[in-house]
Symmetry: C3
C-alpha cells in the first residue's frame, strides 16, 4: 500500500540521456524519455499496437518510436504516425505527469488531474552553488516502509554500520519524535563526543580542528509519500551545537527518496548534499563511494526482514520510542492512503 | 492454447546422437531416443517404477534403461525387463508418435490414433542436393503465437533488425494477406530497390552483379500448427521479379518451426534453405551465424511483449493490415483448437 | 509431511564456530549459535523487536544481539537488554531444544515439552578413538522420503554410481527387508565376488589381500525420523561374511542424516564412519572426497524425480521387493505423523 497521488523520484537525468528507460513505479510500468533535450515524458510502457514495451524503442523527431513496428507516440500518449497506417483511431497510451527538477525526474503515478508540480518537495540546496550533491540508486526487495523505518531510527547505525558511521553514543542518547502536520521529525543530539571519521574529515575541510570534542546532531525529516531528509552535522563543543555559527561547524543533508516499485521492492535513491567544499568534485566522488558502501550494508538486513514479515504476517512488531519516527510516518501514510481509497470508491447510496 | 493433434518439430538428430533427450513439447514432458541408429522413439519422461526421468537413462540393447534402478522399456512404452523383477504387470509408459524426416525429429503430442506421418509438412528442398540447409534452436519465453505474429509481419525487420536485414522499403511497401484453406500467405514485393548486404552476397554467389537495382520479395507461408516458411529473394530489376528466370535471381527459404513448450515458452527452430552454392559448407556456416545473430535480436522484444500481455490480459491489441498474417493464422488455430476440444468433450445427453 | 517431535541433525559444529547460522528445519526458520564455547542455542530467527533475522546478529557476552538495533536475547529466547529500553515486557522468541552430541548439533523442531535428549539416536562409533568419521552436507530439492527410498534401495548404485561403487552383483542378489519396531532393515549379502575398488583399498589398509574373492554386505537401517545408517563391508570369502573375525574383514558405516528443510527440500548430511586406520586424517579426506563425488551423482536424479512427482501427483508408483525398505519406512513415518496430528487436534466433543 502506497499513495499513488504523489510525486516520486523516478530516475536521474543520466538514466534517460541516451535512450528511453523502462521502470516500474508504484506498480505502473512506465517508459521515461526525452522528447527534446530539455523535456521529459512518461508513458505507459505498452505500445497501443501490439503491447510491445515502448522502452525498447527510440526517440525520433521528438516522438517515441516503438522498436517493434515503428508506431510513434507523442508525449501525451497519442499516436502520431506509423508507416502505411492511419493512426487517428488508435487508443492513447496513458501518460503520467512528470517533471525534471532539482536534478531528479519526478513522476506522479496516480490521478493526473490532481498532479500539481508546485507540491514537489522543495530542495533548497539543489541548484545552489554553495552546495554539492552526489548520490546513487539501489534496488532493494523490501516494502518501502521498512526503509522509512530504517532511516527514521538511526540507532541501527551502531549495529549495521558499526565499522563506519556507527558509534555507541547514537545508541545511548535518546531521540525525540514530533509530528508537524504531515511531517515527522526525529532528532538526536549528542554532546561532547569524539567525532567519527567522516566528521573529522568534514571538520578539516571546513578549516576546523578534528581533535576536539564535538556536539553531533541527526534530525530526520519524513514527508509523504516517502522522502527522508536527514540533517547531520557536528559543531565544536560548547558553541551551541546545531545552532552554532557557521565557522564552528560542519554539516550536510542525507537525502533519501524511496520509490516503491511493487509492494515489496523499492528504487532507493540515496545521496548527500553538503555545503562545504562544494566545488570539489573529487570530494563528491569520495563521499558518494563511502556512502554507497555504507548504505549497501542495509540491503541484506532489509530484504531478510521483509522475508520474515511475509512468512509471519500476523506477528505484531514492537513500537519502542526509537521506532516512533517510523510509526508516526506510517500513521500519516495510512491516513493518506485511506483518503485516496475513499475518494476512489463509489459514493454510498442514500437510503 | 495450442493444437495437440499435430506434428511439431521436437529436436534435431544431433540432439539425440549420444544419449536420450528430455524435452517438454506442448506441455508433455517427453524423452526422445534412438532404439537403433535409424530409429527414433518418444516416451513419457517418467519411469513407471518410481517416477524417475527416463531421459537420465541410457539406451541398452535397443531399450531405454532407467538410470535409477534399471527398468528397461521398449519404444512402445512397455516394460521389457528389470533385474530380479517380473515386469509383465507394470504400467506402460505413454509413447508418442515420432518420425524422423527432412533432417528433423517430428512428434505428435496429442491423440496417437490420429497421427498420420503423411501429414507432416512437406519440405521439397530437404534431402535435395541442389539445396543446402543450416539452422539453430532458441528457447524463448513467449506464447508461440507471438512468434507467428512476428514472422508473418516482416515490417519489424525495419526496426528490430535495422542494422542487418531491415530496410526502409519493407515498411513503405504494403503487404497483402490471403488465406487458402488452412494456409495463410502474406506477401510483399519491392521493386527497383538496392539490395541489402545479404542479397548482394547472394547475387555474387549466383554470378550476378550486385550493384544494380533489384526486385525483392518476401512471401510468408503459415501452416498449422505453427510453421512459417518464408520465400525470400531478389531478381535483377525488370526480369519479372519472383517469376524471373533462374539465371536472373537469387533466392532462399527462411524456415521457422515454432514448437510450444508451455503456454508461454517455445522451442524455436530457425534456419535457411538456399539453392545457391549448396555444396559450400563454409557458406552454410556463415549464413547460419549471421541469421542466428539477427534472430537473437527478437528475443528480448518477444519476451517483454509477453510479460506486458500477461500483466494486462484484458487489453485489446490492434489488428492493422500488417497484422493480417498473424490475425488470420490465429483464426485458423482457434478453429483447430475448438474442433479438438469439441471432439474431446463428452457428448451432450439427448433429452 | 514430516515428524516435528523428533531430533534432527541441524548443522555441524564448524558451521556455528564464528557466527550464528540461520537455517530452516522442518519449515521452522531457526538461528543456531553458541552462547559459550561449549553451549549451543536455537531460537526462532525473528527478532521480537521488528522481525529482523537474528542470524545476522552477533554473540555478545553470551547473548545473541540483533544486528539491526541491538536487542539482546538469551538462549531461552527472553530479551535481556536493549540500549535505552526496558525489555521485561518484550515477547519471547521461541527457543528450540538443541543438543550437541556425536559431532553434530541436534534440534527438536516440535513441541519442546516432549524433547528428551536421551532419545537422540545413539552413535556407538562417535567419540570412539578406534573409529574415524568424515562427511559433508548437500542441499537437495526433494522430499526427504525420496532420499530415504534412495538409501534403502542400493540397487540404484549399479546405475547411478556405475562408474564408482556400483557393481552388477548388487542388482542380481535379492535383498531382504524386515521391520523391528520402528526400525526397518534391508540387507543384501553377495558371496564370492570381486571386491570393487573402494573395498580393495580398505582390505589393503587392514593388511589383507585385495585379489581374492570376498563376501560383501550392505545392511541398511532406517530409524525415524529420517536416519539411514548402512553397515557395509567385505570379508575374505569363506570366513563367515558379516560374522567373520575382525582380522578377515574390512567394514564401515555409511551415515545419512536427512533433515527436511521444506516439504520438497532437504539438508543432507552424509558421511562415513570407519574402524580401519582411524588415525589417518589424509585417508579421511580421501574417503570424504570420493564419497562426496559419488553422492553428488544422486542429486540430479532426485530433483528431477521430485519435479516429475509434483507434475503428476496422482500417478501411483510401483512397490517392488527392492522398494520394501522405503515402503516400510514410509509406513512408520505415516504412523508417527498421524499420531502427532491426533495429539495436536482438539478432543472430539462427547455426545
Amino acid at each position: 500500500m502506497f499513495p499513488k497521488n504523489a510525486w516520486y523520484v523516478a530516475c536521474t537525468p543520466d538514466e534517460i540521456a541516451d535512450k528511453p528507460l523502462g521502470r516500474t513505479i508504484c506498480g505502473e510500468k512506465i517508459v521515461f524519455y526525452r522528447p527534446a533535450p530539455d523535456q521529459v515524458a512518461a508513458l505507459d510502457d505498452f505500445c497501443p499496437h501490439r503491447g510491445a514495451p515502448l522502452s525498447l524503442g527510440t526517440v525520433c523527431e521528438g516522438h517515441l518510436q516503438c522498436g517493434y513496428h515503428g508506431l510513434r507516440v507523442e508525449c501525451t500518449g497519442k499516436s502520431v504516425s506509423m508507416p502505411g497506417q492511419r493512426v487517428q483511431g488508435f487508443p492513447k497510451a496513458r501518460s503520467f505527469p512528470v517533471v525534471e527538477r532539482y536534478g531528479f525526474i519526478w513522476v506522479w503515478p496516480g490521478d493526473a488531474a490532481q498532479a500539481d508540480p508546485a507540491t514537489i518537495h522543495h530542495l533548497p540546496w539543489a541548484n545552489n552553488p554553495e552546495w554539492a550533491y552526489g548520490g546513487g540508486l539501489y534496488h532493494i526487495a523490501c516494502d518501502y516502509r521498512l526503509m522509512i523505518d530504517n532511516l527514521m531510527d538511526l540507532t541501527h547505525e551502531t549495529y549495521v554500520h558499526s565499522t563506519s558511521i556507527g558509534q555507541k553514543e547514537i545508541d545511548e542518547v535518546p531521540c525525540k519524535t514530533r509530528v508537524e502536520g504531515d511531517e515527522v521529525i526525529t532528532s538526536r543530539f549528542m554532546e561532547g563526543i569524539e567525532a567519527p571519521p567522516f566528521w573529522k574529515m568534514a571538520l578539516r575541510m571546513n578549516g576546523l580542528p578534528d581533535d576536539q570534542p564535538v556536539d553531533r546532531w541527526q534530525i530526520c525529516h519524513f514527508t509523504p509519500p516517502s522522502h527522508v531528509l536527514i540533517e547531520v552535522g557536528v559543531a565544536l563543543a560548547g558553541n551551541g551545537g546545531y545552532d552554532a555559527p557557521a565557522d564552528k561547524k560542519a554539516s550536510s543533508i542525507v537525502v533519501d527518496f524511496i520509490t516503491p516499485e511493487t509492494e515489496t521492492s523499492i528504487h532507493y535513491f540515496w545521496g548527500m548534499a553538503r555545503n562545504f567544499k562544494p566545488q570539489d568534485p573529487s570530494l563528491t566522488t569520495q563521499i558518494r563511494e563511502g556512502q554507497g558502501n555504507i548504505f549497501a550494508e542495509d540491503q541484506d538486513m532489509l530484504e531478510q526482514q521483509q522475508q520474515n514479515l511475509l512468512r509471519y504476517p500476523d506477528r505484531k512488531l514492537l513500537m519502542l520510542n526509537i521506532d516512533a519516527g517510523g510509526v508516526q510516518s506510517r500513521k500519516i501514510l495510512d491516513r493518506i492512503i485511506a483518503a485516496e481509497q475513499a475518494a476512489a470508491a463509489p459514493p454510498a447510496v442514500a437510503a
